[in-house]
């Protein structure tokens, strides 16, 4: 009996995990909570990582941004157009949120700089081998270049987006994305001794 039920389920009812992201978004628009749950589970870890690395490694803020991102999806599912790939669209929304946050921080930073000038720590002078330390040094180095280079770097090497997709997400010409990646890698090789030996330019 249980087997028959299972077969019936297989024939007549597709499970949410079988649906594409765009199909799930259509279901979310008509109030399907299970579809939302599925989509959240598909993207929560990736978006968490993206926000974490983009916003300066704060768990609390990352969770807040993740929640805000998916709240946008709940409140206005119609803002997604199925003519675009969902993944690209989601990252572009996340990237815009990070941009706004950086803008807000810059305003605050200007005020703080005026109040007190703090000496900057040099994370890059020592030679290291541990992958975790390399990662930390990479992101510390990318801080010097700004969020545009960091986002291009993350999208390209962590998420595996093509140059064209990165350009779509960041709303930039492909040439600009290529040059940002080039300068990011060049800076990394220049600052990190370990990478300097590993990477050829």
């Amino acid at each position: 009996m249980a087997n028959l039920k299972k077969i019936g389920e297989l024939i007549f009812r597709r499970k949410n995990r079988d649906y594409s992201d765009s199909e799930l978004m259509k279901q979310i628009a008509v109030g399907d909570q299970a579809a939302f749950g599925e989509l959240y589970h598909r993207y929560k870890d990736r978006m968490y990582y993206y926000f974490y690395r983009m916003l300066g490694n704060s768990d609390e803020q990352t969770n807040d941004f993740l929640q805000e991102l998916f709240l946008k999806l709940i409140e206005k599912p119609e803002s997604y157009s199925s003519s675009f790939p969902f993944k690209t669209w989601l990252y572009s929304v996340a990237n815009n949120m990070c941009k706004n946050e950086y803008r807000r921080r810059n305003v605050r930073q200007e005020y703080e700089d005026f109040e007190s000038a703090q000496p900057k720590l040099d994370y890059l002078s020592e030679t290291c081998i541990e992958p975790e330390q390399i990662i930390e040094k990479i992101f510390a180095t990318l801080d010097d270049l700004g969020e545009e280079h960091r986002s291009a770097f993350l999208l390209r090497y962590r998420e595996g987006f093509s140059i064209k997709e990165v350009a779509e997400i960041l709303e930039l010409p492909e040439g600009t994305v290529k040059s940002r990646l080039f300068y990011a890698k060049k800076l990394l090789a220049g600052k990190l001794d370990y990478l300097k030996n590993e990477i050829e330019f």
Binding site: G31, Q33, F36, G37, Y40, K44, D45, Y48, Y49, Y52, R53, N57, D59, T62, N63, L66, Q67, F70, L71, I74, E75, P131, E132, I134, I135, I138, F153, L154, Y157, R158, G160, K185, L195, E198, I199, E200
Partner: protein
């Protein structure tokens, strides 16, 4: 090391990077928000608010004007269109019906006449 290896190195480094997982409370809050939104929209579906909103909005003015014109046309010309072909239109005093009301004075008068009759 060629360009491919250079890209591979960054890809490997970043893909093996683990920064933790999102808080479970985020998912709980999102699910609650979704449930709230659903209940709000269901409440709207069961009410006339959206229909009334449409009626008093500027949307579909042409359609609304058309509908009002049709209703007005039928309400104004309905009496003129609805007449019997065999009937004649005019006043006929014979067919006038008077409403008969009970008048207690008449009852008293008739009772008096009964009493008078009894005397005789």
């Amino acid at each position: 090391m060629n360009r491919k290896n250079q890209d591979q190195l960054f890809t490997e480094l970043l893909r093996n990077d683990f920064v933790g997982k999102p808080d479970q409370s985020v998912e709980d809050r999102l699910m609650y928000s979704f449930m709230l939104k659903n209940s709000r929209s269901k409440l709207r579906q069961n009410s006339f608010s959206s229909f009334l909103g449409w009626i008093f909005s500027v949307q579909g003015l042409g359609l609304k004007t058309g509908l009002v014109s049709v209703v007005l046309f039928f309400s104004l010309f309905n009496n003129q269109l609805n007449f019997e072909s065999s009937g004649t239109i005019g006043l006929d005093s014979i067919s006038n019906q008077r409403t008969l009301l009970a008048d207690s004075a008449q009852f008293i008068q008739s009772l008096d006449s009964i009493h008078k009759d009894s005397l005789y």
